[in-house]
Symmetry: C2
Subunit: 346 residues, 2 copies
């Protein structure tokens, strides 16, 4: 991270100085960006395409714990979490704004790390940083990201488009980010009780990375385009599979059958959940922060999705009256209930 | 404001419940909004116009003091401050996202007041609330607003468009918001020292309102359209006239002459500044938060602007080498320096 010996106090620079300093590395690469940072508003040109907008707030002590989240990862994750919402519309993410509120404990070098992480994400995902706001914060670190993208009217996938008979599909695997968080929390407790003991995360890279450095599924949107797959409905898995399924079913006025044995769970997620005495399925259903895409496709897309290594068919859409149910591994039927992450829970 | 007896705790509702509750009054009125709240991203249609985006962060203890800012005013102001950036591009504001981070001390009724203020602003300015994020905050109140608008490519006014010989103009009057803040701060101190004494703001409505309930200058953008005025360069006055003039001159690579005796200052602002032992001109130059529009027009627009009651010609644009100077009332020449508001100042 950073060494306090080398720290530069932000108030030496002032707001405009800070913005100039932080944004000197910003390059505009997107043809849709006419004007980025440096005016009252950014100017974008999506010609005849539809504009997509999504925004997220990330607050210290609620969404992240600076005791184990490296600042560069935090900047990276803040961008990913937001881009994920644009991809979840089957859109192309093209710009973000990045706002930050900084308590005085942050030296310039710390803020730079956050920005560096954000810019790495922008570069990798081919997105322009076009604006934001920079302020002192009387309390903790505040990050607010707005992501902007575009899509053709008939390609945009809403939550409300699922139809009876659709296949219910998910990308990647689930529960890893949640189990990774449990691991980080445990090591934090051990460290707080005995600072001599270094965190033991060996061999747990995958789930730690799922928590600290998630990747939005831009690749899936490209895959849809390549294979001519048009999702009927789509949502990103930020609050847990159960919650997202219910969102789609409610918005689409349909029901669904979910097969527990089809839910994709990585072996490391499975084993570590067991270590913690947790049910891996519950971690996938209610864990959240996986940023995979949950979507439905018509049955005639079956051949196109079944051979994609990174897509799993986990169930199907039914009529609304049939409800939202999970068929367990033992064959029992359970109603799906959302116990996803709630920022307001005490 | 609200009575703690009637308070409802937010965690009883949960995040989705809270969003549903707060947004039940949201109506979509703009033809450019295809989808508002309720999906991963909002979907907008600006056909072949350019998209404008701006974002601001408002943090408790930095940008507002809840001891004298009514919550409804806060919601209203948060929206105005942001819309102002779209108008400053000579654009039409059409949507906002409104995100809020709430400490547990806030009951539902308090959050409702903030939203109510925001929605009043949306309705008055014909802007749709299309999304946002709602979270608990471990510290103070956090508000983040992103405003979205559109404009024709050749109508958009950048900071960089000022030309030598242009007239330098400003709408409304300046310094009022700053002097209003001094008044509110003084009454707060008196109240803190002796809670029996009620704030004495009688006869000071105008400047108190300038601080607590600013109005973005949508009307000016409409006036430009009606009279066929195309500003060469424009910026909104959020950090003080001096700072904004320097922004335009730097971005446009020009200099300017500003006449102190032309700076529009309301009599109440003038008298109250004097009461506080402040120079009214300094309040206008460095005070900030007036949310008026500063712009330049070519000389041939002189006839069009000179008869507008709400526009004052305060100077003109020179070549860059001549620098940015103010001619004082006594005829002395001073370089213009920015001492605008700095959130990082200790």
């Amino acid at each position: 991270m950073f060494d306090n010996k080398d720290k530069t106090e932000i108030n030496e620079l002032g707001e405009f100085g800070l913005i100039e300093y932080l944004t000197k590395a910003v390059e505009l690469t997107q043809s849709t960006t006419l004007k980025g940072i440096g005016d009252d508003a950014a100017v974008l040109d999506f010609s005849n395409k539809k504009t997509l907008i999504s925004t997220d707030l990330l607050l210290e002590g609620i969404h992240f714990d600076l005791r184990y989240v490296p600042l560069k990862h935090l900047g990276y994750k803040a961008v990913q979490v937001n881009l994920s919402d644009i991809y979840a519309m089957n859109g192309k993410a093209s710009q973000i704004t990045f706002s930050i509120g900084l308590s005085s404990k942050f030296p310039l070098e710390a803020v730079e790390e956050i920005y560096e992480g954000a810019l790495i994400a922008c570069k990798k995902y081919e997105v322009d940083l076009i604006g934001g706001d920079t302020s002192a914060s009387a309390q903790g670190l505040v990050i607010s990201v707005t992501s902007i993208g575009y899509g053709e009217a008939d390609a945009i996938a809403y939550r409300s488009g699922a139809k009876e008979g659709d296949l219910l599909c998910v990308s990647g695997d689930l529960g890893g980010a949640y189990v990774g968080l449990q691991l980080l929390e445990r090591e934090k407790q051990i460290f707080l009780e005995n600072p001599q003991i270094q965190p033991d995360l060996e061999g747990k890279d995958y789930i730690v990375e799922r928590q600290l450095k998630p990747e939005a599924r831009k690749d899936l949107i490209q895959l849809f385009e390549t294979y001519g797959i048009q999702p009927h409905a789509m949502i990103d898995v930020s609050d847990g599979l159960a919650s997202e399924i219910l969102h789609i079913c409610k918005a689409s006025q349909v029901g669904c059958k979910l097969y527990e044995d089809k839910i994709p769970i990585d072996p490391m997620t499975y084993d570590t959940a067991r270590e913690f005495g947790l049910d891996p399925t519950v971690c996938a259903l209610n864990g959240g922060e996986d940023y995979e895409l949950l979507f439905t496709v018509p049955q005639d897309a079956y051949d196109k999705v079944k051979n994609q290594l990174d897509i799993t068919i986990i169930g199907y859409i039914t009529e609304e009256a049939a409800g939202c149910e999970m068929i367990s591994k033992s064959g029992n039927v359970h109603p799906i209930t959302a116990q996803g992450w709630n920022a307001f829970k005490k």
